[in-house]
């Protein structure tokens, strides 16, 4: 039997329905993008209460800015919501559509969406990913939009962090630096004076050893042996991971070997810092909170947790240096998708979140990291919240900020260095061997311009 006309028709119909379904699915993403695009935007430049109806058509047109972020996930969604409401009050012609994703899937998802052309207008990136995105040319250069935007309200280092090759691709949203936390009670018990801002490595070592001798289960100091600590630590010792014009790695220089030796000795020689096995899967924060750790080098994002969960006395100080002082910070930036049809409006939202007094105030009130701004009155309020009593150290640390070396293959570079640092930490390789191997692997795998 041959297929008759009816059967062919049926098959064709089936295929057609399927094709429509498929088209419908993929069309969904596009059509929403188009609605954003059809509304020509001019209201972006003017700020407060802009009711002008000079736009084409006479109808008051509102644009929608899609914004995706990870840092509000968890407890802070309500604070972000507050920022959005405040922003929309000031810009009645702009609506912000917020999407908050969990940190764990965020970058996988964002990568897929950027590649498929369905990225939101504006989104958040952490510093490590920012560089890769910027160098691959998927972000909008914000510099031409700056106009009258006064960048002096922003922290200079944080702002600079989000520029690459002389172009500003992002604005800093929040900001956290790293300081030395210490357990006052343990210092008292060991009869050691508290850290001061001009402490050096040697001072910290002495204190750590005295505290370590208090008990088998009590440790002097914890400073993770990983990339982020290491790039800063080498600068405290006059070294660096790359030469000044970033054309060559300088990972295995004698100063750097000395630095790593110092970090590793804490674990393997004096054991003032626990080994991985002694930590047994416990986090460094938990060790500190349990009252068994004298000093901890970590970020100020620990404040809310420590304030809530610690019963002993603790405080902070600027991190000790060796031949020089150096501190580092983490920052999350806000960027605009290169293909966004509502870039102007998106930039207004970015400016608001990053640099406005209102957003900064909401952040400080919520204890949601530190806004990257210089408004003294807002920051004063931040200082008044205790513990820690010496909150000034957060700002004092900013005087010594160093920025990480940044390359296009950033994640790959940090993983390579991290892997070799771990080998040294666990005593599998000597620090000199580990850094020599790291240098070799970096030269093989990482392209520098």
């Amino acid at each position: 039997m041959k297929w008759n006309g009816k059967q062919w028709k049926l098959l064709a119909l089936c295929l057609l329905v399927m094709a429509m379904l498929i088209a419908g699915c993929s069309g969904g993403g596009k059509s929403t993008g188009d609605t954003g695009g059809t509304t020509s935007n001019s209201g972006g430049g003017s700020s407060q209460g802009n009711q002008s109806s000079g736009d084409s058509g006479g109808k008051s047109e509102t644009v929608t800015v899609k914004f995706t972020n990870f840092s509000a996930s968890g407890d802070n969604e309500k604070h972000l919501q507050k920022m959005k409401e405040e922003f929309e009050k000031q810009h009645p012609d702009i609506k912000v559509e917020i999407e908050t994703l969990a940190y764990d899937d965020y970058f996988t998802q964002m990568q897929t969406r950027v590649a498929s052309g369905t990225a939101p207008d504006a989104y958040e990136l952490n510093y490590e990913n920012f560089v890769s995105y910027a160098k691959k040319g998927v972000l909008l250069d914000l510099t031409p939009m700056f106009g009258g935007f006064d960048t002096s309200v922003l922290n200079k280092n944080a702002l600079e962090a989000f520029s690459t090759d002389g172009k500003q691709y992002g604005l800093p949203a929040s900001f956290s630096n790293v300081v030395l936390f210490y357990n006052k009670d343990l210092f008292d018990q060991a009869n050691v004076s508290y850290p001061t801002s001009d402490w050096t490595w040697a001072d910290a070592e002495q204190a750590a050893e005295k505290i370590r001798s208090l008990g088998d289960n009590i440790f002097g100091i914890y400073q993770p042996i990983q990339f982020w600590e290491f790039y800063k630590k080498v600068q405290q010792n006059g070294g660096s991971l790359m030469n000044a014009d970033m054309t060559q790695f300088t990972v295995d220089t004698p100063q750097n070997v000395e630095t790593l030796q110092h970090m590793v000795d804490r674990v393997l020689k004096t054991n003032v810092m626990p080994t991985e096995a002694q930590m047994a899967g416990m986090g460094d924060w938990d060790l500190f909170k349990s009252g068994r750790l004298g000093m901890l080098v970590t970020g100020i994002w620990a404040f809310p947790d420590f304030t809530q969960n610690i019963t002993f006395n603790w405080d902070i100080e600027v991190e000790p240096g060796n031949t020089a002082k150096a501190t580092h910070f983490f920052s999350n930036g806000l960027v605009i998708n290169k293909d966004s049809k509502v870039a102007e409006a998106a930039f207004e939202w970015l400016k608001f979140m990053s640099a406005s007094r209102e957003a900064a105030q909401i952040r400080v009130d919520a204890g949601w990291e530190l806004p990257a701004v210089n408004y003294e009155d807002v920051l004063d309020k931040y200082l008044q919240v205790t513990p820690p009593n010496n909150k000034k150290a957060v700002f004092d640390s900013l005087n010594y900020l160093v920025t990480p070396p940044v390359v296009e293959q950033n994640a790959e570079m940090t993983d390579i260095i991290g892997l070799h640092l771990q080998a040294a930490r666990d005593g599998v390789k000597s620090p000199a061997d580990a850094l020599r191997d790291a240098q070799k692997e970096l030269e093989q795998r990482i392209k520098l311009q």
Binding site: F107, V114, A280, D415, D426
Partner: protein, 301 residues
């Protein structure tokens, strides 16, 4: 009598196959073909694909050459081999043993069957986290137990030599129930007259197991070995949760590398090439096993 032509059969079949086939084509064949194409490019996984603008650029066999020419691939393969050498014999022994226990008719055996199967249903995240704490060098249950016998336990997941065995332990716990169930099905398919005959001939329990059960179970054993080998090459969630590839690279395996290259190093082309090498390896081993099965697999007539 109605004449059944080949065309007619096709026509009827296509309607039933269509829903499945569409899914297969859309979600398997097209992506696979896409990934294969990408494996010859330098795509970074971020820039929208626009062949006119030269994104992504074709690099020929460069990706394959640099994977096979680098140290990393062989190191990762060695790690996988360690896993396979430990995992396959242990899982076969454990699941056959469990199946033998569950095969006997005694009160409440179905409760035990459920208990053995629970780990299979548990999510890897939960299972891996539990094993992380059980294997903790200082406070974990395993080292506590070893201490009772005066043995100082290793650092497990923190020791480059013991991390992979630690992951194997977790995998055995998780997969044993699944394979035991398959073996149980095999055991129940063995005709009891074989055992009676062996008994009459004076064979003890061990000889009955060795000369009746094992040979008649060999088709199942074959199937399980093939599946286990494929699973082993695709090892991933355990590693990501328990060690994240550490300590210093001792548990880096292929899928972990593929994920890393695709989603944190922005080398989608390289990752695609890596996954086709993985495919070739799995294909080769499965083909080899099919070839070798004639030597040891008995199909009951």
């Amino acid at each position: 009598m109605p004449r059944v032509s080949k065309h007619n059969g096709w026509f009827a079949a296509i309607w039933f196959l269509l829903p499945c086939l569409t899914g297969l084509i859309l979600f398997n064949l097209i992506p696979v073909a896409g990934a294969f194409t990408l494996s010859f490019t330098d795509w970074d996984g971020l820039k929208p694909i626009a062949p006119k603008d030269g994104v992504p650029a074709f690099v020929g066999l460069d990706n394959y050459a640099s994977i096979l020419g680098g140290d990393e691939f062989w190191r990762v393969l060695r790690n996988t081999a360690v896993y396979i050498v430990l995992y396959i014999p242990l899982i076969l022994i454990a699941s056959i043993a469990a199946a033998m226990l569950l095969h006997r008719p005694y009160r409440g055996v179905s409760v035990y069957r459920v208990l053995f199967y629970i780990p299979v249903l548990t999510s890897w995240v939960a299972g891996a986290l539990i094993f992380k704490s059980i294997l903790s060098p200082e406070y974990g249950g395993v080292n506590d137990l070893l201490n009772q016998f005066g043995i100082k336990g290793p650092g497990w997941l923190y020791d480059p030599n013991w991390a992979m065995p630690g992951i194997v332990l977790a995998s055995i716990w998780k997969d044993m129930g699944f394979f035991a169930l398959i073996f149980l099905g095999g055991l129940q398919g063995i005709d009891s007259s074989y055992y009676e005959a062996a008994k009459i001939d004076g064979a003890g329990p061990w000889r009955r197991f060795r000369h009746v059960t094992l040979p008649l179970l060999s088709p199942i054993t074959f199937f399980v070995t093939v599946i286990c080998l494929i699973f082993s090459f695709q090892l991933f969630p355990q590693v990501m949760i328990m060690t994240d590839g550490g300590p210093h690279g001792a548990t880096q395996v292929m899928v972990e590398r593929i994920y890393r290259y695709a989603f944190s190093y922005f080398k989608m082309g390289y990752a695609s090439a890596f996954s086709f090498i993985l495919f070739a390896i799995i294909f080769l081993f499965t083909w080899l096993q099919l070839k070798l099965q004639k030597k040891w697999v008995h199909y009951d007539a």
